[in-house]
Amino acid sequence: MTSSTQPRLLPADFSMRGRSAESGRSAATPPVRPPGLLRTTLARSRVELLAVFRSRQSLVFTMLFPVLMLVILGSIFSGTVQGTNVEFRQVFIAGVLAAGVMSVAFSGLAMNIAVERDRGLIRRLGVSPMPRAAYFLGKLVRVAVTTLLETLVLLAIAVLAFHLPLPADAQHYLTLAWVLPLGTTACALLAVAYSSLIPHAGAAAAIVTPPFIALQFISGVFFPFGQLPSWMQTVAAFFPLKWLAQGFRYVFLPVGFQRVEPAGNWELGHIALVLGIWAVAMLVVSLLTFRWKSTRVH
């Protein structure tokens, strides 16, 4: 039997159960570089998006919660915020937009990663030659698309049902254009880092949801932030949700509202700084602690 031909069809191969290095292709071919970050990120992004749009269950679950909150609480809340002529409902809408980002980018993603780790997907990617960053970038793409979708849905409801006035000038849209992606990135990287605390998928909701709910209460989603006890404001200021909500308030509320913000102004620089620090810190933590092997299943 010649050693140069490569077997191509299954039945034919059985006769040549070659045992020496010469009979295989392994020794003959020089090593090839595995696909790089760009190609593998595209491959990851493709399956991430396929999964998002095929799995209505997870899409609906993570997107529906903020929508329900907006519809129900938006219909209940009335009156203006003390010391301003701004309707509290508008303040609440800005808060729900921020909570929506966190719901999708943090809760949704952390649970998604926990499930993928349980199912052995992560370990299979871990033994492939994929650059590991491609997995995280794919998650960012997934989350970017879903948070954008979530924000658009919430905004549509806010405008159509609750007559939220949209900002009129480019300045506010420009701010939205960096607050939304920066907040999404910070929340997503927080999710990646936080996923290491989840022992198995069954525990994911219990570990992810309580801190998220607590953060919503102390970050000015359900109550005007300026009216919260100052210790609560201080605690909230360490976490991204408060800053994200503040950014959305800048975008969607009249300029005058900044009088009742604790700092007396919008602190756009601080928003960028805190969200940026969270993103970088969580990236570092993720790189150091991310578990590529699944927990033992048997």
């Binding site: 490569q6 077997p7 299954l10 191969d13 059985f14 040549m16 159960r17 070659g18 045992r19 020496s20 290095a21 009979s23 295989g24 292709r25 392994s26 020794a27 071919t29 090593p31 090839v32 570089r33 595995p34 696909p35 190609r39 593998t40 491959a43 990851r44 493709r46 399956v47 396929l50 999964a51 095929r54 799995s55 499930v115 349980d118 199912r119 052995g120 997907l121 370990r123 299979r124 990617l125 871990g126 033994v127 492939s128 030659p129 994929m130 650059p131 590529w292 092997k293 699944s294 299943v297 048997h298």
Partner: protein
């Protein structure tokens, strides 16, 4: 069957390190105080299929996962395709294929989506259509992976593991949960890669699988390779060639035959058996004895060569101090 004079050792093999895709010496790994792998030596030669056998908890998965760069070792020397798996280079990962012990789940994607995805991660993958055919999932290409049966999911899993057309394949119990026909298909897959010159390290509890696929087998007990050699000569150094047995007729005494074969054993049912290193000569003497006592036909006369299972169970029993039957139950249950 010739019996080698010396026991096969793990290290007995060809050439220097550089030739062999897997070279392990003195490997150690503990989980807390428990030594899961304890001074393990193993060598897999290029192009061979090596079966890794051993009871539950023997340390097979731990060993294989260290070789995959998946677990850190506590000590010992390991070379896989000429690299230390702990360095975990991308170019190195592209050359190995891994099918872990637990089946993966790929929700929401179709079978061909999953394979298209994994092939995109490798520099020189097998075509998706080909992989589908190889694992017998061509008809399920456009079905969601989550709706596959357990055995079909395992087959998809195997396809994912070999998507990159690996040069070295780790299969950890690849056929557990497959129906007999699917097992045969998986075997063909192993042979297919062997035919391409790939090296395979196959963990299995099915001895017929080891017999059918492997060139050599290594038995791990208590985190250590206790026996390694060609499958058909496994345990050859410690065993005799065959077992001869027959049944005494009613009222017949074993004493006259015992005079000929002092090592024989008689059980309650009158079953006489002994292990013979020279079965041809023993049979000749037995037949002469029967002739002499005018016994006519000897009831249930058998000459049995030990099966791989017999040898395996004996090896395991020898190293665990448990009777073979208990182990047999363990193996079958898994």
């Amino acid at each position: 069957m010739p019996t080698p004079a010396t026991p096969m050792s793990a290290g007995a093999g060809t050439g220097p390190d550089g030739d062999d895709p897997v070279v392990v010496s003195g490997l150690r790994k503990s989980y807390g105080p428990f030594r899961a792998v304890d001074d393990l030596d193993l060598r897999v030669r290029r192009g061979e299929v090596l079966a890794l056998l051993g009871p539950n908890g023997a340390g097979k998965t731990t060993t294989v996962e260290i070789l995959q760069g998946f677990r850190r070792r506590d000590g010992g020397r390991v070379s896989v395709l000429g690299c230390d798996p702990a360095h975990d280079r991308r170019g190195w990962r592209a050359r190995i294929g891994v099918v872990p012990q637990s089946t993966g789940g790929y929700d929401d994607l179709t079978v061909s989506d999953v394979l298209r995805h994994f092939t995109a991660l490798y520099p020189r993958p097998l075509p998706v259509g080909r992989l589908l055919e190889m694992v017998g999932l061509a008809a399920k290409a456009n079905v969601r992976a989550s709706t596959l049966s357990g055995g079909q999911q395992r087959r998809l899993d195997v396809a994912v593991g070999v998507a990159g057309d690996p040069e070295l394949i780790f299969l950890d119990e690849p056929t557990t949960g497959l129906d007999p026909a699917a097992r045969r298909e998986a075997w063909e897959l192993v042979r297919f890669f062997a035919g391409r010159g790939a090296t395979t390290l196959l963990t299995t509890h099915y001895l017929d699988e080891a017999q059918a696929l492997a060139d050599r087998a290594a038995v791990i007990v208590g985190g250590r390779v206790v026996e390694c050699g060609p499958v058909d000569r496994l345990g050859a150094a410690h065993r005799s060639g065959a077992t001869i047995s027959f049944r005494l007729s009613r009222g017949q005494s074993a004493s006259s035959v015992r005079a000929l074969f002092p090592q024989l054993a008689v059980d309650g049912a009158g079953q006489v058996s002994w292990e013979s290193t020279a079965p041809t000569g023993d049979l000749g003497r037995l037949l002469a004895w029967a002739e002499q006592h005018r016994l006519g036909e000897i009831t249930d006369l058998q000459l049995r060569r030990p099966s791989l299972e017999d040898n395996y169970l004996r090896i395991v029993a020898e190293h665990t101090g448990q009777p073979p039957a208990a182990d047999l139950a363990g193996v079958r249950a898994s």
